[in-house]
């Protein structure tokens, strides 16, 4: 069997980034939630907010630690497996990546130390401020990472000299055409993801009859957020899709499974895209719906994949299905949020067991949607690393053999399969120990991480 270093490098990249993205998908939303809770505590003086905040801060610390170690892996991937891409684009993307590192360090790590360890060392307003700064730090991190990614999707503001890219205008580079939409769509996705985790955890606590007053507050706050953000996210997704139609038409055609240029264009609800034969099998479609969604007109024309040579088309079925799974989850999310509100308005939210049970099982849905959205946009960019300009095949490190990459990929697989289940089990045990005043005090006496020996041996008799 021939081992292709290019294919294996892509698999390795997908593996390490898919696991890593789950952590920011959670911590960005959670940091903001903690800041809100700290604010409520600061302004009302009600200790219930403090207890909820401490509960989530403990979980935040674990996911942040895992985010640090899985994040350190990422910048080195550019060098180990994508050295030609690095050489060609470093003049443009590396300052943005460096700013991400600075933000993660200067704001997140800095103020996280205060947030975790120093509740009694600093005045309450400073603690509240630290929570806000951690949240702003996570948002700035996503700003720079998505600016980098957006430049790869819709490159602007550069000049190309001998196959390498040099900066001309930094405003154009940072604010490339897809960036505002990607940033809003991505960060909203992260907030929604966290919202469903908070909803699910709250529902679980209610069903187990643990920390019920605090759990009810969690469920209520999550529903408040979701009823606004889920519809907003659908609207932002629509804007992002129309931006893609304009700037990355091959990706959009792959999303739609559209081979021929059509107007009016139907919307394929299901199909098995067949790239070899440039057609779909078993297609189920709704006439005019594609035109209506993409061009906002009854008969609008959309370009099909056949308008480009086969070697410029992305893989179709992964994009096609990833997009549909993402949209499917979004629709279920809307159903969940609306159902929750209907029950709440009827006063039956906290004792409708089937709904609480559903919330519990729906908690990871956002993560799946994030991964599917990420797959849509990254696989849809193929066969390019810099859209239309630099091919993925020309980006890979030339010295690597298939055996090299297979070996490293297997190591990453084994280590991540050890680390992630352990991390999830740990966070689950923090959830099981519930919300309460006991935990908040336990973390203060420890010099190290707040979940050190004292949260287990002194703080928690579980």
């Amino acid at each position: 069997m021939h081992l292709d270093p290019l294919l294996l490098s892509r698999l390795q990249w997908a593996w390490v980034i898919a696991w890593h993205i789950l952590l920011p998908a959670f911590t960005i939303g959670l940091a903001a939630y903690i800041a809100v809770l700290e604010g409520l505590h600061f302004f009302t003086g009600n200790n219930m907010w403090l207890h909820i905040s401490s509960f989530w801060t403990r979980i935040f610390a674990v996911s942040f630690g895992m985010g640090v170690v899985s994040g350190i892996v990422m910048p080195f991937q550019f060098g180990t497996n994508w050295s030609r891409f690095s050489d060609a684009t470093a003049n443009i993307i590396s300052p943005m990546m460096a700013y991400e590192g600075f933000m993660a360090f200067a704001l997140e790590a800095t103020f996280l130390g205060v947030l975790l360890f120093a509740r009694k060392l600093v005045p309450p307003w400073a603690h509240f401020l630290a929570a806000i700064m951690v949240s702003i730090g996570t948002l700035f991190s996503s700003f720079w990472i998505l600016a980098t990614n957006s430049w790869m999707q819709t490159p602007r503001g550069f000049q190309e000299v001998n196959g390498r890219f040099f900066p001309r205008n930094w405003m154009d580079i940072v604010f490339s055409p897809s960036f505002p939409y990607r940033l809003l769509h991505n960060d909203t996705a992260f907030f929604v993801t966290t919202g469903f985790v908070v909803l699910g955890v709250g529902a679980w606590l209610i069903r187990r009859n643990r920390s019920v007053p605090e759990a009810r507050v969690m469920v209520r706050m999550a529903l408040n957020l979701l009823i606004v953000l889920v519809p907003l996210q659908m609207y932002l997704g629509d804007l992002h899709g129309r931006n893609t139609l304009e700037y990355q038409p091959t990706k959009l055609a792959a999303i739609e499974g559209l081979w021929n240029t059509e107007g009016p264009m139907p919307e394929a609800l299901f199909a098995i895209p067949d790239k070899a034969n440039q057609r779909n099998d078993f297609e189920v479609d709704v006439p005019h719906l594609g035109s209506l969604i993409l061009t906002h007109s009854w008969n609008g024309t959309v370009k099909g994949l056949k308008a480009w040579p086969v070697d410029q088309q992305p893989p179709v079925w992964p994009v096609f299905f990833a997009f549909r799974i993402m949209v499917g989850i979004a629709i279920l999310m809307l159903v969940m949020a609306v159902t929750g509100w209907i029950l709440r308005l009827r006063g039956r939210l906290y004792n409708t067991d089937w709904f609480l049970c559903l919330c519990q099982w729906f908690a990871p849905a956002g993560f799946i949607a994030v991964l599917m959205g990420w797959t849509t946009t990254e696989v849809g960019r193929q066969p390019w690393t810099v859209y239309g300009l630099m091919r993925t095949a020309d980006s890979v490190t030339p010295s690597l053999t298939g055996g090299d990459v297979l070996a490293s990929l297997l190591f990453y697989v084994v280590v991540y399969l050890l680390m992630y289940p352990a991390g999830v089990a740990y966070m689950a045990s923090l959830v099981r120990s519930g919300v309460g005043p006991g935990q908040a005090e336990a973390e203060e006496i420890e010099s190290g991480r707040p979940k050190g020996p004292f949260t287990t041996t002194v703080g928690r008799p579980d």
Partner: protein, 337 residues
């Protein structure tokens, strides 16, 4: 781009050089502590040793990211050649760091798997350190380059010299770690740390001697740098100072000196670092690209420098503050203070 009268490159060389040195010192001591952890006699010692670095390790590790991306930003071609050449050492380093990083979190909770994470903390620290030493050795030996890409194989790094530098760094980080433990602990554990420090110092001295003799033999370029008149006169103080510092370090490892062992080991690292810099200057990809040839565009350097000059003081200020907050001895029964 022609508007810049003065090049920013010297500023960046200074910043990047300091970043790498800062990383080596700071993650160096907590990796060294991780290595020594494997030799601790009992559970209480292990907990004290781990707590001595628990509040600071993640901040220290972030400098690795800054160093890596800094190399990419300032010397793109060096990043694109060096990192593939050390593909497996980088892999080993990253996975080692993952293991030791999560061990801080998981050790306490999973009592059934506790032995696993405890060994993971020590093994991860040792592997990451060895791998960094191998990267250094490979760097000193130079790379097989064709145009702007690495032309060798992913196993070129396996040489006796790079294995030696790998072991040397384990001993050196062990010395830094012992110095840190002397500051942070007292009683029997401190006595033990002093003894560990002396063992590491003997090993480090042997390694410094071996690397100093071997490096000029590797390449006539390096030999000429050191042994041609008048360089030999200018550079003679460096080995003399190193020898003096080794003797002084041996003495301060006796009881009675709390901080000097740590600062002495920093001095040894500084002199070794200078020695390597003198050997290879101005090469950034030995022996193919100089720092002037490998530099990124002025616009790239300028764009990044603006934010760096603003953010770096904040980061350093916070770091100093956090070390201040967590100052003092670690006790067996509770955390710091």
């Amino acid at each position: 781009m022609s508007g810049y009268i003065l090049s920013l490159l010297p500023v960046w060389i200074g910043l990047l050089g300091l970043t790498v040195f800062y990383y080596v010192l700071f993650d160096g001591f907590d990796l060294g502590v991780g290595i020594l952890y494997g030799f601790a006699r009992n559970e209480q010692w292990r907990r004290q040793i781990m707590n001595s670095v628990a509040p600071v390790w993640d901040g220290n590790e972030t400098w690795l990211v800054l160093g890596g991306i800094g190399l990419m930003a300032v010397f793109p071609v060096a990043y694109a050649i060096i990192i593939p050449a050390v593909y497996f050492p980088i892999l080993a380093m990253l996975l080692g760091l993952v293991f030791r990083g999560v061990a801080f979190e998981f050790r306490f909770k999973h009592s059934a798997l506790r032995w696993f994470w405890e060994r993971g903390f020590c093994a991860g620290s040792a592997i990451a350190t060895f791998a960094q030493g191998v990267v250094l050795g490979t760097f000193i030996q130079g790379f097989d380059v064709n145009g702007r890409v690495f032309a060798g194989s992913s196993l070129d790094w396996v040489t006796p010299f790079s294995i030696l530098t790998g072991l040397a760094l384990m001993l050196g980080y062990g010395l830094l770690g012992a110095g840190w433990l002397i500051i942070k602990t007292d009683g029997e554990l401190q006595v033990w740390a002093r003894r560990a420090g002396r063992i590491c110092l003997i090993g480090t001295t042997a390694a410094i001697v071996a690397v100093s003799i071997w490096t000029p033999l590797l390449d006539p370029w390096v030999a000429q740098r050191w042994f041609v008149w008048p360089n030999i006169a200018w550079l003679a103080p460096l080995p003399v100072l190193t020898a003096a510092l080794i003797i002084a370090e041996w003495r301060v490892l006796r009881p009675g000196f709390e901080f000097l062992p740590f600062f002495g080991s920093i001095g040894l690292f500084l002199l070794s670092y200078l020695g390597i810099a003198i050997s290879l200057w101005p090469m950034i990809v030995p022996f193919h690209y100089t720092i002037w040839q490998a530099a990124s565009s002025e616009s790239t350097q300028a764009f990044l420098l603006v934010g760096t000059l603003f953010l770096l003081p904040i980061i350093l200020g916070y770091t100093a503050w956090s070390y201040w907050v967590f100052r003092g001895k670690i006790r067996g029964d509770i955390g710091t203070h």
